[in-house]
């Protein structure tokens, strides 16, 4: 029973990571550095709260998340693809712009500096066992399916072949008649949609938007992308690993075996180790960060 509780909690914690990391893989596979995941998630969370509040339904919340994420993705796409702006700077700017504007609109729309009012989420209140209730949430299933599906798309479909070509060798892809920038645009919008659903999950699960509620999850997802070497299945395993460590941390809080700060560090330390190539080097898509 304890093991089952552990697995269920790990899966719940992993859902936003899985969604954002799937977006991260998609974005980096078309050659755009996924530094803006945190901002995309946060915009999705805010959009979800807004949509769910005004539409009085979690489905409207999902729609709101996709619209908000789409807006931010458009900013990202115009600056990096059309204007070839530096992707690192744009990523940082996107995160800042979303952090600031969600606070601004929180005050404008809900007249609060910390959180939105309670919004409808995906049911489950009537069910006795809260642990299973969250699995009535369709976003959980989308999250669990996202990376395996992405793996299938990348390696088994013509679209995926083009995505990989654009991210590895855009000149070659262009020579073979693949329109490079439109492919990047498609990839980026898919990435934005996935990441904003990750944020929507957080807001709908907690039935409200709170200021800065993504709390670095976008960066943990980015860490998972790199630690998983840009391979969807490996990335999924990395997400589950990071989520498992967090769950362990939560469940052992009373025991105080390891200070919580050290558990927080795990994803980041592992990523640096993977990049330094101590055990099997992480190598990025060849054209990552080069849009000119």
């Amino acid at each position: 029973m304890i093991l089952l509780a552990f697995i269920l909690q790990t899966l719940r914690i992993a859902v936003p990571y899985l969604l954002a990391a799937a977006g991260g893989v998609m974005s980096e596979r078309v050659g755009i550095i996924a530094l803006g995941l945190e901002g995309l998630m946060l915009s999705g969370a805010f959009g979800a709260a807004l949509g769910s509040y005004y539409g009085n339904s979690p489905w409207a919340g999902l729609l709101g998340a996709l619209v908000a994420g789409g807006l931010i993705t458009s900013l990202l796409a115009v600056s990096t693809i059309r204007f070839r702006a530096n992707q690192v700077v744009v990523g940082v700017a996107i995160n800042l712009i979303v952090a600031a504007s969600t606070r601004y609109f929180l005050r404008l729309v809900f007249d609060s500096s910390s959180n939105s009012p309670r919004v409808p989420g995906f049911g489950g209140e009537g069910i006795g066992n809260a642990m299973f209730a969250s699995f009535l949430n369709p976003v959980v299933w989308i999250g669990l399916a996202a990376l395996p599906a992405l793996g299938w798309v990348l390696y088994r479909t013509p679209f995926g072949l083009r995505v990989r070509a654009v991210g590895e060798k855009p000149e070659a892809a262009a020579t073979l008649g693949v329109a490079v920038n439109p492919m990047r645009l498609k990839g980026l919008y898919i990435a934005g949609a996935l990441a904003s659903l990750g944020g929507a999950y957080l807001a709908l699960d907690q039935h409200q938007f709170t200021d800065g509620m993504t709390a670095g999850r976008g960066f943990i997802a980015l860490a998972a992308v790199i630690f998983g070497r840009w391979e969807p299945v490996r990335v999924g395993v990395a997400c589950l690993l990071f989520a498992g460590a967090e769950t362990l941390q939560i469940q052992l809080q009373g025991a105080q075996l390891v200070p919580s700060q050290f558990v927080e560090m795990i994803p980041y330390v592992l990523t640096i180790v993977a990049l330094a190539g101590v055990v099997g080097r992480s190598v990025a898509p060849a054209a990552l960060g080069k849009t000119d």
Binding site: L35, S79, F83, A93, S101, R107, F219, V269, A276
Partner: protein, 368 residues
């Protein structure tokens, strides 16, 4: 093209994106203010009055500009070597912590002439160590410094959080005890009009760092090598520059500069290290360096601009949310980053067509 024409082209390339960005930010700001049902003119007036309109406001702007100058220089120093140091946030915090630990260890009887330099050196050394690690991983293994510095931010902040909360905090707080030695005097101690503001003489360290950074980059051999690596690493290597060494050194210097910024809060303002004091100033350094075009003197000016926006947010907070200016700051970063390649392309195309038409005229002259 004549050298003066080339020079004016360069100036335009540097200034135009910032002008475009500020124009866009002003329009966006107007819209946001209107969305709150307030008058843009009144809010802008309030912003200017609350920053440059009185000595307290000016002092606060100078205080914020001090930290931003340091983190901006940090980003620029790595940027000139072709590297992205996204880790100034962690280096800034680590530097502040280094200053505080030295200040706690030194005897309180130690005169300020000795204590302050020791604390400043400690801040810069700790910052340099945090910057040097991604530099080393990049130089030795080719690990992306972008990712390593981002990840290191989280690691450093968590580590400092643990040290302070587990070993070094005053009860019921997330701060260290007051430092015994090394306090940097406030500007108000000398100029009474700045009373109440946090501005302090760390300001002089930041200006000195900008001048030293300029001297290093443009007047020394090592700085020349650093810029050569940034412009064209293969060519620099062919010219005999040890590229990995330059990458390592530039990241260490970059970290040291960010670490210096920690002095401003710890030694100059509070007299102790406090959890979360960096508060995004490390990331804003990217904005400062970008608008300052990675030039130390440009950075001084850009730091004043972003410090004004940051303080201005507080000045207008009663009327519109202070996040207004945070949004504008981010909008400036985004539009400068977006405008730079476009402006370069346009100006170069225009310059090329002018040169071409001049060349045509001169050949016609010869013909006639």
């Amino acid at each position: 093209m004549s050298t003066t024409a080339l020079k004016s082209t360069r100036v335009w390339e540097a200034v135009l994106p910032a002008v475009v960005a500020l124009g866009l930010a002003a329009v966006l700001g107007d819209l946001l203010i209107l969305s709150f049902g307030e008058s843009p003119a009144a809010v802008w007036t309030l912003l200017v009055k609350g920053t440059w309109g009185n000595a307290y406001g000016i002092g606060q702007v100078l205080y914020k500009a001090t930290t931003l100058t340091c983190t901006g220089l940090a980003f620029a120093m790595a940027g000139r070597a072709g590297l992205f140091n996204v880790g100034a946030e962690g280096q800034l915090a680590a530097g502040g912590f280094g200053a505080a630990v030295m200040g706690l260890l030194l005897p309180s009887a130690l005169p300020a002439v000795l204590a302050i330099p020791l604390c400043v050196v400690s801040a810069m050394m700790v910052g340099a160590a945090v910057g040097a690690l991604p530099g080393a991983l990049r130089a030795k293994f080719g690990a992306s410094e972008v990712i390593v510095t981002i990840m290191l931010n989280f690691i450093v902040l968590a580590l400092l959080n643990w040290i302070v909360s587990a070993k070094l905090h005053l009860p019921e707080t997330l701060r260290t005890p007051d430092i015994a030695a090394g306090n940097v005097p406030r500007l108000a101690d000398t100029f009474a009009m700045f009373r109440g503001s946090a501005a302090n003489f760390t300001l002089l360290f930041a200006v000195a760092a900008a001048v030293a950074g300029w001297w290093y980059l443009f007047r020394t051999r090592s700085g020349y090598e650093l810029r050569a690596v940034g412009l064209q690493p293969e060519a620099a290597e062919y010219g005999g520059v040890k590229v990995p060494r330059v990458l390592f050194v530039s990241m260490a210097i970059s970290g040291a500069l960010a670490g210096l910024g920690g002095v401003n809060f710890v030694l100059g303002y509070k007299g102790y290290y406090e959890e979360g004091f960096a508060g995004g100033a490390g990331f804003l350094g990217i904005a400062v360096a970008l608008v300052g075009r990675n030039h130390p003197f440009g950075i001084l000016a850009a730091a004043l601009l972003f410090a004004t926006l940051s303080q201005g947010g507080l000045a207008v907070n009663a009327v519109v949310p202070k996040q207004l200016t945070d949004i504008l700051t981010a909008a400036v970063i985004l539009s400068v980053a977006t405008a730079v390649p476009e402006v370069q392309q346009q100006i170069r195309a225009a310059a090329a067509s002018v040169t071409a038409s001049l060349a045509r005229k001169s050949t016609q002259g010869v013909g006639a």
